[in-house]
């Protein structure tokens, strides 16, 4: 009972903060709203029993990605034209597309949801099961993802270096 209540509370918080991202003006406040969304989603994952993903959500998303984003917002001067008028001229088509997308998703997803297989409550997502499955069956993906990270770091360095050469 209390778990259901908490699940609804976290889901509502996530949706509210996501909606607040669209109307807040300052990018720093948008970033903080996104952090609230991610923390609420981590709560949802924890309530579902998928604790590994909840921990990774907090560590990787909130701890790494959003801190990076906040630093960049502090580096840049954000009070420009996009600060005075926060919406582009695509506002009305965007909202129409948003409503159409919501209608299509609701229609497609609520027709026949698959019944949950297995009993609710018991989960196979302890750290041990996850790690064993990850490093036994998906070691190739693990190596590929590390290569991807190295490529991203090298590409970021290359981008910054090109900019320096142009501006002396």
């Amino acid at each position: 009972m209390i778990e259901t209540l908490l699940l609804w509370l976290f889901a509502g918080t996530a949706l509210l903060a996501a909606a607040a991202m669209l109307v807040l003006r300052h990018p720093m406040r948008v970033a903080l709203a996104l952090v609230v969304t991610m923390l609420a989603l981590a709560g949802v994952y924890a309530l579902l029993g998928v604790h590994v993903i909840a921990v990774f959500q907090v560590l990787i998303y909130v701890g790494a990605v959003m801190v990076f984003m906040v630093y960049v917002i502090m580096l840049l001067d954000v009070r420009d034209r996009s600060y005075s008028g926060k919406f582009s001229r695509l506002l009305v088509p965007g909202i129409v597309g948003f409503l159409l997308l919501l209608a299509v998703l609701a229609h497609a997803l609520w027709q026949d949801l698959p019944a949950p297989s297995g009993a609710a409550g018991e989960t196979a997502f302890g750290v041990q099961q996850f790690s064993v499955a990850f490093l036994n069956e998906y070691w190739l993906h693990f190596e590929l993802i590390s290569v991807l990270l190295v490529v991203a770091v090298v590409a970021a360095l290359a981008v910054i270096k090109v900019g320096r050469r142009d501006h002396g």
């Binding site: 609804w8 970033a31 579902l48 984003m69 960049v72 926060k86 997502f125 981008v159 900019g163």
Partner: protein, 100 residues
Amino acid sequence: MDKTQMLVALSAGLFALGLLGVIVRRNVLVMLMCMELMLNGVNVLLVTFAQQSHSTVGAVLVFLVFVVAAAEIAIAIPIVLLLARRKRTLDIDAYVDLKG
């Protein structure tokens, strides 16, 4: 509305809100953050169905999405920094000469 329906609706809502943000906002950094919101919406769906079918595949896939998102931000932020240094603004309308 049961739990699964609520989670699917949450996922769809987050994805649609993120897409709306990418379309209607003018600030490049806000658009990047709305893209992160779309990734989060997809993750909710993956976690929901992985938890229901008791498979670790979904959890592994979500972890890979996390890492790809981190790599995407690591390469997107320097590009935004360069653009902001060159155009002196974060307004997306100023980058219209990037159109091919």
